[in-house]
Symmetry: C2
Subunit: 341 residues, 2 copies
């Protein structure tokens, strides 16, 4: 299995992507990593690392870098030698089974879509990620920012892709799908969501009905579907709240000597809590609906976090996400067709 | 000062609203409470309470109840003797300075709007609430669910109302306004938000620019503006995450004997933390843009929480929210007119 990694992307770039990739290659002997980016810089980053499984670490040079602020058309049309471009091309040409970047999300999506194209029956790819639930499991939510203005039909396709993802990678037989809305009744919400609710109701998918914001984190459904505008705002709000919480915990345990002492006594509990609520474990979003396996890491990922995203990409390849998605898509679409006729 | 309280609203109703109102009347001698609802039921709820400042507690009978599931048109047209109706009518007729309900939000908004009408220059009222920030202060966010489909002009009006609210009640001289979006650049977002960004940029308001989901909780701006669909989902997501966090803290401190012991040692810290993150303190949303002061409590509010919402209503009356809002609105609209001409 070969995974192409855009080493130049992310807020930090090489000093995160390279150590994470090498550690990943060390831990998983079934994986070759293809490090894409400015070769001499990648080489010096590798030189800082002690143990390198050299036979499974490949470097592919790419001279240009897509920055976090690059408009999509610049990234797409003016930077055809970027590490993003080259990483996706490696998938297109069959040199890699999956690719991943922590860079500019809009550019990464646009380049992946331009090079790989969408699957049959999918108008627009979507970004899907796992969010933690208070049952300890996770909810898969999409779209998280690829599509700001969505039609009801787009939302149906997101539901199909989310269903296929869970069936393929998580082995959930008949994933339940919730439509993110502001009330449980099907008459609630804006025009697009109301229409999507009706379409989903009459589809062969396991449609639970509407779910509200709090239910994303309750584990009530396997898949939550929404447009990319709402999805992105919810995702970032969740990050903001998590930060506020952990900040408050830190502050209160440092308020005075007694608090500090009780923090020491409680340190095993606090460590468990930190691990449990560590959002790095949820890093690694899938770009679904493309003719290739593409992953996106959070831009601010650290080594640990980028490593988690790499693991997710490996799982997707191991479980034949692409083939299974195509399979499930054609099954569901067949059902949809027989249902509609 | 007289506050009319819909005693029948909320998930629990009388056993929350009545004790909270009586405690509120006991604590604030400048307040008369008008308890609206089914009189014998209110009386028996009062009889369970020891200290009642009877001269400042008034009961106004209302035979009908708007349920949480009542469609808006039923609440508006078929239940004209409901406690909601009568509470708002008390404001309309000058018997009360403000009114509050913990009931069906859509119905409460519709009835308030129908009876009181909107202020000059406001097409649609909005729901505004305070959200905590990691600086310890709060951000005012609107709309939180009154308007699912919004135009750019609606968003501008929300910005004006939020500005007026903060100037009136919080004495912030020139509140900064952020537009909730999926990126900081003004070209980001859906069509409505892009247009709203341009309008706000050329307005005399203190427009900060776009803010992303995480920035709601960072205290970067005083007011965050969004449509009611997104606002409601963010608000409920925040509740869901808060619940997940507090659940995880509780579970980890009860995992085994040692954890339980360290929880005992840390109990003063954990208590402070609980108080600090207690979302009951943020209960009490304003229905802005109406010709009267109307508040909304969370449906699941307990006595403590409903009491907080009552305090907020009192502050609004004390600070002449309505007069000041009308004043600020005419000032801002004058500026807008001179700006546009």
């Amino acid at each position: 299995m070969r995974i192409a990694i855009d080493c130049m992307g992310g807020d930090v770039g090489l000093s995160v992507t390279v150590p994470a990739s090498i550690r990943f290659a060390n831990d998983y002997e079934d994986v070759d990593v293809i490090l894409v980016g400015i070769e001499p810089l990648i080489k010096s980053a590798i030189n800082l690392i002690d143990e390198v499984p050299s036979s499974r670490v490949h470097i592919v040079n790419a001279d240009e870098i897509v920055t976090m602020d690059d408009p999509i058309d610049i990234a797409l049309r003016r930077k055809k030698k970027s590490s993003m471009y080259v990483a996706v091309q490696n998938v297109k040409e069959g040199n890699a089974d999956a690719c991943i970047s922590a860079g500019n999300t809009g550019a990464w999506m646009a380049i992946s879509r331009y090079i790989l194209k969408t699957l049959d029956g999918i108008d627009r790819p979507a970004i899907a990620a796992y969010l933690p639930t208070n049952k300890g499991g996770s909810t898969t939510m999409l779209d998280l920012g690829a599509n700001v203005d969505c039609s009801a039909k787009n939302l149906l396709q997101f539901a199909i892709m989310g269903t296929a993802l869970l069936q393929a990678v998580e082995y959930v037989k008949n994933p339940s799908v919730g439509l993110l809305n502001i009330g449980s009744e099907i008459i609630k919400g804006n025009e697009v969501v109301k229409e999507a609710g009706n379409i989903l109701l009459s589809s062969p998918l396991n449609f639970y009905g509407n779910v509200e914001g709090n239910e994303i984190f309750s584990g009530k459904v396997n898949v939550v579907v929404c447009d990319g505008f709402v999805g992105n705002i919810v995702l970032k709000s969740a990050e903001g709240i998590a930060k506020m919480f952990s900040g408050a915990v830190r502050e209160e345990f440092r308020r005075d000597y007694f608090s500090f002492f009780s923090g020491l006594v409680s340190s095993p509990v606090l460590k468990r809590l930190k691990n449990r609520l560590d959002n790095r474990r949820y890093n690694g979003a899938s770009l679904l609906g493309l003719r290739g396996i593409v992953f996106k890491s959070h831009g601010s990922a650290d080594i640990e976090s980028f490593y988690f995203a790499l693991q997710r990409a490996r799982e997707a390849v191991m479980n034949n996400l692409l083939e299974k998605t195509i399979d499930k898509l054609s099954q569901i679409n067949q059902l949809l067709r027989s249902f509609n006729s």
